[in-house]
Symmetry: C4
């Protein structure tokens, strides 16, 4: 039988509720950056299509936040308690999730505009890379404290789950952005899609239904 968590541990449910709020808001605020140029009445369809970099950036950030939320949800779902350290690392994850709409806006604005495009896409990639590191730190911290993890979860497996982390992807994407910025955004998008695939280690670990 599972032991109760220590009496004065921090409530895990509250951490989840606050995190759900920040993830949900960040993912929904992205839409505020979508718009068409003033004066586009005459050719609205053309103007809508012309905004493709906005949709690419919107979709990449939406999918990234969505997948990070799924991973976050899978991680906390395997925990039974939280402590102050976990609260702080969670705040770091949320800081980067909440910051993401800013580089997303820059990418939406400057893709297709040779010089600034490169800066925007590298800045975006660095933010994604930092978010990936923060999430890895979050899961490692949790996995190393047996008292935080549900008894039926193998904490070594939990720690290993993020080791196939997407950080490598983002490093490649950042390097790619120096020469082919738009392709780099496509690589960030591909990374989010890959992380969302059912076959990924993290998912196999946490979502199997045996």
């Amino acid at each position: 039988m599972e032991q109760p968590p220590p009496k004065s541990a921090l409530p895990l449910g509250r951490l989840e509720a606050f995190s759900d709020g920040v993830f949900a808001i960040a993912i929904t605020l992205l839409v505020l950056e979508l718009h068409v140029e003033p004066g586009s009445e005459a050719h609205l369809l053309h103007s809508i299509l012309h905004e493709w970099p906005s949709y690419l950036a919107y979709f990449t950030s939406f999918l990234t936040i969505g997948v990070v939320w799924i991973e976050h949800s899978a991680i906390t779902g395997s925990l039974r308690s939280a402590d102050g350290g976990l609260y702080r690392l969670n705040l770091l994850v949320l800081l980067l999730v909440g910051f993401l709409p800013f580089p997303t806006k820059l990418v939406a604005e400057f893709v297709g505009d040779r010089e600034p495009e490169r800066v925007a896409v590298i800045f975006y990639g660095i933010t994604l890379l930092a978010l990936s590191f923060a999430l890895t730190a979050f899961v490692r911290y949790a996995a190393q404290d047996r008292a935080l993890v549900h008894e039926h979860v193998d904490s070594q497996e939990l720690e290993a789950a993020m080791s196939l982390s997407p950080s490598g992807f983002y490093v490649v994407g950042i390097l790619l952005a120096f020469v082919l910025p738009t392709v780099a955004v496509a690589a960030y998008l591909a990374s989010a899609v890959y992380r969302g695939l059912p076959a990924r280690t993290l998912h196999r670990l946490l979502w199997r239904r045996d």
Copy 2:
């Protein structure tokens, strides 16, 4: 007696909490697009009334998101567990809910402006149609996995519940938008009202209190 859900299934409560967040934010962000033209001090009442396309678009999107939320709530209320596939389909529903403020803004801006009006209303209709498809996929996926559904719910009935889906309405609306865009928006609104009626199959199924 109802069997417990499989141990490593994903938490349904977290999916609901995150979805509630996205629905609540998308439905509340709509208000940010309401404003009066600069320089309308002299005739503020006139300016407020002049913005009727904004209110029509606001109200249509508010009601649509509200009704989709009620349906989403009724669906997950009939489930007892979630899995990775359901999480992904839910993300697709949320992607479209979160995107809706953008075409809403275009409709608010361009209704009454012959040529772009048509493009805006068709774009809006396509988004609503895609949302309707995503919700249908969500309920079908859930209904086909007996392990996800509460034992007292008939999963065939659950699947059938969405078969009188509003997709047909939206197809008609989109076609109508080619000739009578404003009437098409009224049709989208009527669709949301119709979906909110107590007599609808989904509601009969899930809200009966026997």
Copy 3:
């Protein structure tokens, strides 16, 4: 012993969670309308103080939404179940809560500007009055269905609780706005303060700790 609610009743918790989201977002979005005029570097303190109508409108709307949330929370806290009708009336309450930032913005913009000021304050008052009616309808609907109310709550008392509703206040405020708009905003604010007082019937009913 309290009987369980009927099996397929709608989940009350989900209604609360979604409502909390909309209330929280509407109350927090209000801050987006606070700003100082461009070009106010030279006299920033003066510019900040000059924006007093914005703070008055912000504070009035914040307090109103806050008090309505407390009342909403007290009402649903006395229920044990929800049904489709309650979901719909709740959506009406949320529609008006979510709409409130728009007239708030108009009041903030036009108070001090004789003619439009009057229109803005009347429009604001009508929205507040409609919100008050919606909340009254919400509590009456709940009180009239014994199956929705907790057994330890007297449903007649619950229904009576809102009968000293603030609607009268708002009618007076709207009439006042025709001659003294700024005073009318102060009356709306006073109404929110009054509704927040511990001695109010609704509060006595629901918050007594016997």
Copy 4:
């Protein structure tokens, strides 16, 4: 054995859910103020770096709201019930949390701009000080009513926990802002970092895992 809370006490969970919403939204809305000047295509990297006051303000406010949320979470985690007074004091805390993005925006806009900078930073400091007072009032109110506090929590310790409150920090910061505004912002930031340290009294009290 712990006694049940009085029957008609207000639900603590609902207070937490609403608060989580407001905290999450306020912390995420901050990103909307981050942007680069129009016409910065030519030197985007330079423009991004040039916005350092925005990042300083963003980070300070993010960390402050985050730490206040952790403290709020620790406080309500030590309670077992809420009443009307706690609901009202909580609304005061949320009023200030929700207001914080406005002075943050002013700091981001005017730091580096000698005269208005001083006004903006003092205004920001006063808001932070008021928030600190509100939180202290919140914890004191809770601590003085034995019926609200979990039996395993020493309410005197709870009350003492906030006595090393950051209010002093903010008073110093406000005074400092008269002569060295940018340094004062750094002091506000340091205060948030200090409050986030594990060794702080509040944390020792509430997060020990014995």
